[in-house]
């Protein structure tokens, strides 16, 4: 195994601690206009009239833009259902209705109040299960006519815009053979990503019809494609730049506010237009997260063998569908959990609802279905009178198993059993110091995760040797806290056999000259961009050898690359230093031999295919990652107050590139998901307005919730053949099983089964002396 050189600190630590790191809102230009957005106060309404006469007369107002200015600009990622500004109809509270551009944001703020909009309020729905009813208001009555870049298998005359089916074996036979059929419904409500930095974008159109945009995006190339498609211009005319992101977590992937910013800027050529969301807007006018109801019907034998499972998953996907089509798919693939089940019938639905659109959020469909699946296993164990470990281990995917997609699981996919046993062992050894009036519970969950992505989602990298023998590398992985650039530096340094300080990673991305990278999502950058870097390194080494062979006058094949020098394999005394040849070798008489070493590396996930429309099976997942998680909780018997004592995860990371950063990713993911497990839920009033669009009303974990918590993170290292040095992605996985671990811990502490997140203190209190599942 290769030793990965270890950095002392992440490469951007100094800049970030000192406040020097530039985020989108730290960038401004002279004569820049501020864009302020008038948003719909209604969840669902027709726009009857917009009066902008008054506002246009106000001092300092450059331009007012409404949906009437839209010709055919539509955001069509998978489904062409979304205009950058509402046209004739609003479908969620917070949807943009008009944009005011002004140099002075105070003037713009004042102007917003002078725009008069007349609405005809329509019936609305915020929950998928309501939205699928026949008498539910149709949010997109014309969805049949929409252009689609992908067949999403929508249901005509309904709010279902995506239906993913997965079929394996014969589910009815399984139910007939079962000793017991256990059926439950689990609810995972919508959440907000709450990156500490809200979304921002700055755009300018030049007179050459070229657009330059700075954006807080995880996906500059994706934004470029979407905006080019929206304006029917060439992708090369759209230049998207991104630097540091104050958190992404998926909520800054795909597109959110960038199309609107680009659209508004088009009306004021040659001026930069900045749109920066307030916190309130980040809650109700960017992308939101999750929102799934999962019904599981499981056929089991009395020895705990799972014979079959039927799952129905309903996503409350919000008003527009493109950003969640593939979440529906990922949830479908993964709803069986890390188990081999021979008979499966899954129907996963993306359903239009009158809320902000749901987009990717760390875990991408997996936490939703694991909440259901890992609670279901726990409940099955209780109902059969068996140990939950026994059921999990009996049914676990292992080498040779066939997963739900029909893929064969190999040993190289990771040590699920080892991870699970490690967590059980750690939970068992924790001795609880029992206090009066408290009860305690330990909860466990097993997890699996696969990224879902287009089959051609490439990554690439460029490598340049400089005159002094240092190396510049660029790859299009966004830095949003996960430490991508640091990991890339380590991978490059290891592959180049050069010290870390000789390798520099370019930190910002610009689509006009950075190497292509589809998006920084799905925990894929370490292995995809990492592989692209290794490809570039391989080519650079070849080129260095070529130069060396000319200088030493030997065959290239007889040379060996050793980092700082290239030696003749059979006679080490014959060598040339890398820094002497990386720019071509300069002889005393001025003659140059060889060429500068600059290379390009690429990586494409191999062999991915679309899933079969009938069975939903196919090679849709490029890799699998397995692990297990556990929590220990203390609950106050009188108040229901829950305190987290321990939180832990074991994950097969393949190869840990940077232990400190890897631990930070796992813990960060777990705590983020603890929010979803215990406190976070977007709530809507009867009028469909979001009721908790602030940190006061939407509670994310604070330092006080975690101060006394002990964390354990265990890395297993079964090398992943497609990853650099065997590494897998690990950035999202901390989220996947935390909610069920809490649910199972509460069940063990109080003997009640809860089915609906979040597991708030209030909910625990109201249920603790009852049988559980009071709907609160």
């Amino acid at each position: 195994m290769v030793d990965i050189p270890q950095v002392e600190n992440r490469i951007d630590a100094n800049k970030k601690i000192s406040g020097e790191a530039e985020f989108i809102d730290d960038i401004s230009f002279s004569n820049m206009l501020h864009a302020l957005v008038l948003r719909s106060p209604h969840a669902h309404a027709e726009i009857l009239a917009i009066d902008i006469n008054e506002v246009q007369k106000l001092e300092g107002i450059e331009k007012v833009i409404t949906g009437r200015d839209i010709k055919d600009e539509i955001i069509n990622i998978d489904i062409g259902d979304h205009y950058p500004l509402a046209v004739d109809k609003v479908r969620f509270e917070g949807e943009p209705v008009a944009v005011v551009l002004a140099q002075d944001k105070w003037q713009a703020k004042k102007a917003l109040n002078s725009i008069k909009v007349e609405y005809n309020v329509l019936p609305h729905t915020v929950k998928a299960r309501e939205a699928i009813k026949e008498d539910s208001p149709l949010i997109h009555p014309d969805q049949d006519q929409y252009n689609r870049h992908l067949d999403t298998n929508h249901h005509p005359n309904s709010n279902i815009f995506r239906h993913y089916k997965l079929r394996k074996g014969n589910i009815e036979k399984a139910f007939k053979k079962a000793d017991k059929v256990i059926e439950n419904r689990f609810d995972y409500p919508q959440r907000s990503h709450t990156q500490m930095e809200t979304h921002g974008a700055i755009a300018k159109w030049t007179s050459d019809q070229e657009m330059i945009m700075y954006a807080s995006t995880q996906s500059p190339f994706f934004v470029r494609t979407a905006i080019a498609d929206m304006f029917k211009v060439k992708a090369t005319d759209i230049i998207v730049k991104s630097g540091y992101l104050g958190g992404g977590f998926g909520g800054k992937s795909d597109v959110s506010i960038e199309p609107l910013t680009a659209f508004a800027a088009r009306f004021v050529p040659n001026k930069y237009v900045k749109l920066k969301l307030t916190r309130e807007e980040a809650f109700n006018a960017s992308l939101i997260a999750r929102g799934a109801e999962v019904e599981l019907k499981t056929a089991v034998r009395k020895d705990g063998k799972i014979l079959g499972e039927k799952a129905k998953i309903y996503f409350s996907s919000g008003a527009y569908g493109s950003t969640s089509v593939h979440i529906v798919t990922a949830a479908g693939h993964n709803c069986t959990g890390p188990y081999e089940i021979d008979n499966i019938e899954v129907d996963s639905y993306g359903v239009y609802t009158n809320t902000p659109p749901v987009g990717a959020f760390r875990g991408y469909g997996h936490p939703e279905v694991h909440w259901a699946k890992e609670r279901q296993i726990h409940i099955i164990a209780n109902e059969l009178g068996l140990d939950e470990d026994e059921i999990r281990i009996k049914n676990m995917l292992k080498p040779g198993s066939i997963n739900a997609l029909g893929q064969k699981i190999e040993k190289e996919n990771g040590d699920l059993l080892g991870c699970y046993k490690k967590i059980r062992e750690r939970l068992d050894e924790i001795e609880i110091n029992q206090k009066p009036h408290k009860v305690y519970g330990k909860g466990i969950a097993a997890i699996m995760k696969s990224p879902v992505m287009p089959t051609n989602s490439a990554a690439s990298a460029t490598l340049r040797f400089n005159e002094e023998g240092t190396v510049d590398i660029a790859c299009s992985g966004s830095e949003m806290g996960q430490g991508t650039k640091t990991a890339m530096q380590q991978i490059a340094s290891a592959a180049l056999k050069l010290p870390l300080d000789k390798v520099k990673i370019k930190e910002d991305i610009s689509t006009d000259n950075s190497p292509y990278g589809w998006q920084t999502i799905g925990s894929t950058t370490t292995w995809k961009a990492g592989r692209a870097i290794m490809d570039a390194v391989r080519k650079a080494i070849d080129k260095l050898k070529e130069n060396a062979s000319l200088v030493l006058d030997v065959n290239k094949e007889d040379l060996e690359y050793r980092g700082n020098k290239i030696v003749l394999s059979e006679n080490e005394d014959l060598f040339v230093n890398t820094d002497q040849i990386c720019f071509g070798y300069l002889h005393d008489n001025g003659l140059v031999k060889g060429e500068p070493v600059q290379t390009y590396g690429t990586y494409m996930p191999k062999g991915l295919t679309y899933t079969d429309p009938k069975t939903g099976q196919g090679n849709a997942a490029a890799e699998w990652t397995f692990g297990a998680q556990g929590v220990v909780v203390e609950i106050d018997k009188e108040t229901g107050e829950l305190k987290l004592l321990n939180m832990m995860m074991a994950i097969d990371a393949g190869k840990v590139i940077n232990p400190k950063l890897a631990r930070g990713q796992v813990i960060g993911g777990m705590v983020q998901e603890m929010g979803g497990a215990l406190t976070e839920e977007l709530r809507y009033g009867k009028d469909g307005q979001m009721r908790n669009n602030s940190f006061t009303d939407y509670k994310i974990p604070t330092p006080l919730d975690l101060y006394d918590t002990d964390f354990d993170v265990y890395f297993f290292e079964t090398p992943e053949p497609i990853g650099p040095f065997g590494a897998r992605g690990i950035a999202e996985h901390g989220t996947v099983g935390i909610a069920p671990a809490f649910g199972n811990a509460i069940s063990n502490a109080l003997g009640i089964e809860l089915f609906k997140l979040p597991l708030s203190n209030q909910k625990i209190f109201l249920n603790m002396n009852k049988e559980g599942d009071l709907y609160v």
Partner: protein, 151 residues
């Protein structure tokens, strides 16, 4: 409506005219180009915009600019040259208490205020100092470990 104020920001005297509705955060970021102080919520809920006002940590997004008249402000830019900053930086780096870095300057200011108050903070002191700061990336473990290293 505006008011002329006299203030010291990062050891430098300023006489500035500020509109009454302008927040201290806006003054710092938009007028004085000190962008090290970040805006996370604009409502005093997250702590990202923390600065020191006469040595006490305040949320600059809910302090009006004219309120700093005759007072002294220290921002992350002004903290950089103090010995405490180097110490704080060192422990934040050692524990990798930084991920996206957006909340970090606010945390650093909170820790500086804590050290101003006491050289030997106990658990309760640390909880009080950090309790109102939000971080969505780290899960706080690394931040807590970093600050405990200062004790």
């Amino acid at each position: 409506m505006a008011k002329t104020i006299n203030t010291i920001i990062n050891n430098e005297k300023h006489e500035i005219e500020v509109p009454y509705q302008m927040s201290l955060l806006e003054l710092l970021r938009e007028e004085l180009n000190m962008t090290g102080t970040k805006e996370g919520c604009g409502n005093g809920e997250c702590g990202a915009c923390t600065v020191l006002l006469d040595d006490l940590p305040v949320r600059s997004c809910i302090i009006l600019a004219h309120e700093i008249d005759q007072k002294e402000v220290v921002t992350i830019e002004g903290l950089k040259n103090t010995g405490d900053y180097e110490k704080i930086k060192e422990v934040f780096m050692a524990e990798d208490a930084v991920q996206c870095g957006f909340c970090t300057p606010g945390f650093v200011m909170a820790v500086k205020a804590l050290l101003n108050r006491t050289k030997y903070p106990n658990d309760q002191d640390i909880k009080e100092a950090l309790g109102g700061h939000l971080c969505r990336c780290t899960g706080y473990e690394a931040i807590h470990k970093a600050v405990k290293r200062l004790v």
